[in-house]
Symmetry: C2
Subunit: 353 residues, 2 copies
């Protein structure tokens, strides 16, 4: 990080290089037997219904997202402009059995969008078909070129970032729900995506965990540029400051986002980092204290407005009790955005104070 | 960071993929007029004298490192196995005027090692010459493939990491001096390099700021693997937790290094982040408090043993007073490793307590 000459800076007005995807989508479910492996597809259907024209899958696959079923040509005629790989596979691979379906989609005029680790263009048949039909192969996990080193300069407009006590507990859904609630209140708000599913939902964004470490904070600065004073960017968090594998990613995103408001995301009953049983989660109070302290570097006025509690698996009564108990213990607004209700309204109001 | 299946883990015994460089070196000084632009060359001469066979430069260039002057063929005959680009250029470019000299070195049997941003193989003449002569073009800023996601698992052996109140104030030199002092006391110690100059000095390492963010902590775990209980890894720090552009890099390196001992590096008189005058440096006490707190995630027993104070530009008397004042103010061992003396001996002893 010593040679900074001739690098672009986030402070200079360069064009936003964040991915901008062709849309709307035909969702490809692969050979999934049920919705367990359709995390991306479920996210798209639930959060970007306007972008989801139809679904398509391998012959004999049982899973469905309950969208209209269309082959690529019909979907193109209905307006679709890209086929999205909506099923996860072990190791993030693109399965050989999917290739004929993807080639057919390219021939029908659709680009292909993938969030897999494997790069689409590394498959020779896909590369040839895309060239033959003049179509694009878009890997959402590949960051745009020309990302800047962070400048640390304060930007105009308001920003909210979701942070977590761990990975995989609702930071994306919380950000989506808050952005929607802000807009429902008549505010000008954008969801800013930092992971592959979020980018497909938003149609644009930067896959922050795939960015070279020197540029993470700069990418976050570029993702939420100067905006109108009353505008809100609601930014999808990544990882956790308390995760021994990913805390650096989270800190770069936190600094570059320079949030005015933090929402701490937590999963009810979780007390260890998933997959790392030697690592206990911090208490809610400790997590807020440390995260606010770190965030103050780039925005001394940052505050935590409350907690988003993932209560999946609890009954409605149990969830209500868990939310009330946490709110009482820590004296903060707490809600499960997936359940909505008055608790969520109070959390939204606390963000907008 | 959601799809972790099929990724290697630092906990499994994979071969160390850190760069391992051909050596010893012929140092190429380019067209430098004086030593101002020879940071890499000076570092190599001062810290890896055994690796530096000779120097070579463009016709008419005035700079010298006061090494024997040899053209590539003579250097090869004297044992050299690589030519190292030892001069910095604006923007980290490889200058066109250097190319004939580099082609000549390849023809003489030397590999070429570069820490520049430009990749050597992107130059067609270099690529062709390397292929024709069966030589390697080694970009030290390119991380090795196959880096793991951090496991957070505790490793055997002892580790020291140099951290800083800012960038560019002596973290590499402090680590080099401490590793040398440890060895002088009969201890088994390795300097672990995380930046391009450090990697050239050590002959191996990982350029941590060029690693994709998800893998930074994992790269740091790989850089200092399990070792004998009495063995010390002295790890070169990067960036600063207080730098708005790079704190995420520093945090990933801190967590993956899981240091037992921290040495805080600071430059006398510096009170702002270099190049970012809106960002004041933390006090020494605050810097130690925050860094230790963050480091406790992966090593609860971490401690800060003292401060390395860069006193370049001060007279010997002024430096002694500055060191004594800081030691008194914070109740810690303080020394400038470049000046050595009893203060440095006390700092070394404090590391080994």
């Amino acid at each position: 990080m010593s040679i900074l000459l001739n690098r672009p800076s986030a402070a200079s007005p360069i064009p936003l290089a964040a991915l901008d995807l062709p849309k709307p989508y035909l969702l490809f479910l692969g050979d999934a037997a049920d919705t367990t492996f359709l995390k991306t597809g479920l996210g798209l259907r639930d959060w970007a219904p306007d972008l989801c024209i139809a679904e398509h899958k391998c012959a004999g696959a049982a899973a469905t997202l309950e969208l209209p079923v269309m082959p690529p040509r019909a979907a193109y005629a209905a307006g679709a402009r890209a086929l999205v790989l909506s099923a996860a596979s072990i190791g993030g691979a693109i399965r050989e059995s999917w290739i004929p379906y993807l080639v057919e989609a390219l021939a029908a005029g659709l680009d292909i969008i993938s969030g897999a680790h494997d790069r689409l263009a590394d498959n020779g048949r896909l590369r040839q078909a895309a060239e033959a039909h003049g179509r694009r192969l878009i890997d959402v996990r590949t960051p745009p070129p020309g990302l800047p080193i962070a400048s640390g300069r304060r930007r105009s407009g308001k920003r909210l970032l979701t942070v977590g006590t761990d990975c995989a507990l609702g930071k994306k859904y919380t950000a989506l729900a808050l952005a929607e609630a802000f807009r429902a209140r008549g505010l000008d708000a954008d969801f800013r995506a930092t992971g592959q599913t979020g980018i497909m939902i938003a149609g644009r964004g930067i896959p922050i965990d795939a960015v070279v470490s020197d540029f993470v904070a700069g990418a976050a600065e570029m993702l939420s540029p100067d905006a109108d004073r009353a505008h809100w960017d609601v930014i999808e968090g990544q990882g956790s400051l308390f995760h021994p594998s990913y805390a650096g990613v989270s800190l770069g995103l936190l600094h570059g986002s320079q949030p005015d408001v933090l929402i701490l995301c937590h999963a009810h009953g979780r007390d260890r980092i998933v997959g790392l049983p030697d690592y206990p989660l911090p208490s809610i109070g400790r997590a807020i204290e440390v995260t606010v302290q770190q965030a103050q570097l780039t925005n001394p006025a940052v505050r935590c407005a409350g907690v988003s509690l993932n209560t999946a698996g609890l009954s409605a009564d149990e969830a209500e009790r868990a939310i009330a108990a946490l709110a009482r213990d820590w004296g903060l607004p707490v809600a499960d955005p997936m359940r909505g209700g008055p608790a969520f309204d109070r959390l939204v109001e606390a963000c907008l104070l």
